[in-house]
Amino acid sequence: MLIVLALAGCSQEARRLVPGPPQTAPNGNADPRIPAYQENLYQISQGGRYFAWYGCSACHGEDAAGPANLADGDWRHGGGFANVFAVIGERHAGQDYAARTPVEQRWQLTAYVRDLSRHHAEKRRRIMLDQKAEPQGSAWLGPQ
């Protein structure tokens, strides 16, 4: 039983090295490129990393309330992949994430944000601890 469970996890983080990651926004909520991001734990965890690096957690932290809470499964502008992707780039007045973040990173951020409702508190804490030692801004003093 344990072996079967372990084997089932084998390809969850599989990382394909291809020269052409997406360079355009998703074409609707049924874009065929979506599963490669939404169902891949590597891409989701990269999204979590950029979530911290771009400062998203300043407003969308764990204790965020109302529309800023991304983990409650309640989406004001629709919860489809293309909907969330568009909101990140276009509906953050004054931040211009469409210019600041490369397209592929926005794919990863979208996958992460849509996965958040499945992240329980311990998982989020563990990710935060893992990322503490990563270089984020001028406060970083080298690896811990």
Binding site: L17, P19, P21, A99, P102, V103, P135, G142, P143
Partner: protein, 336 residues
Amino acid sequence: MAWSAMKRRIALVPGAVPAALTGACAGIQSPLAPASDQAFALHDLLILMTAVCGLIYLLVIAGLVWSVLRARQHAKRAAAAPVDDSALDRSLIASAVIIVTGLTVLIFGSFLADRALLAARAEKAMMVRVTGHQWWWRIEYRNPATGRWVETANELHLPLGRTTRVELASNDVIHSFWVPNVSGKIDMIPGRRNMLDLTPRRSGWFRGACAEFCGAQHAHMALDVRVDDPVAFDAWLAGQAEAARKAQGPGEALFGLHCGSCHAVRGTPANGRAGPDLTHFAARRSIAAGTLPMTRGALQGWIAQPQALKPGTAMPAVPLRPAEADAVASYLAALR
């Protein structure tokens, strides 16, 4: 005529192989061309080990040949002669003495090499921090004027004749620091700080590489090492400590917007720490940890399609219009 030319070419081949082998010995990435006290100690140990092991190898082969020949002669004689064990005893004692002597010499040589590697520990040394990332090197010096850390990447400069203490760490997986002409190799382990003392004795360019498989682009994780006389080194370090000069054109603003989340250029709003510090980028020799030479074409290609040149690198393809990419490349090419 064609036949004679071919014969001449074939005749060249046996000469070409040793020439190619010895050519590798004098290179910029070779432990056989030592350029520092520590590399000399390791080089001496290597020579001693090759000599002792080579000698014992030759003795073993000679003994084997001798015993085969002797067994043939014995087989011709009558098998009824009485067995004499004294010769066997003598040869066993002789081989034990040879093995113990060889091992003693090697242990003593290794002890001396260890002492030489640690000899500089007591001295006052300049500190440099080198951090391994997938797949590049973060390098930090202490600015002698202010005492603050100055960051650069992928190019290590060392002063000739002075001891530098390199503090090695890793940000993600296990890497290994190895500049064969200047140092032995030592692992960079997450959560640990390893130390290495380097006292260069020959100036010039050398090449280091990550020596522990660290992921898809392990082979593209190289390090340029420059050994300079102390005056030139001090001037270089003072230059590195300065902020970037004010740039003309739209490149700086574009860089700050599109690249500044991950890259820092001191003196501008770009202050990201995830990627290499690019404050004096164009003064370096190569791009992306030795992947490409520092040319305008390579720079423009790297900005446009990093994933095609180094698949898996943390640098994403940033969507820039051609004129914008050109402005960013011009800006970077002027960061000296």
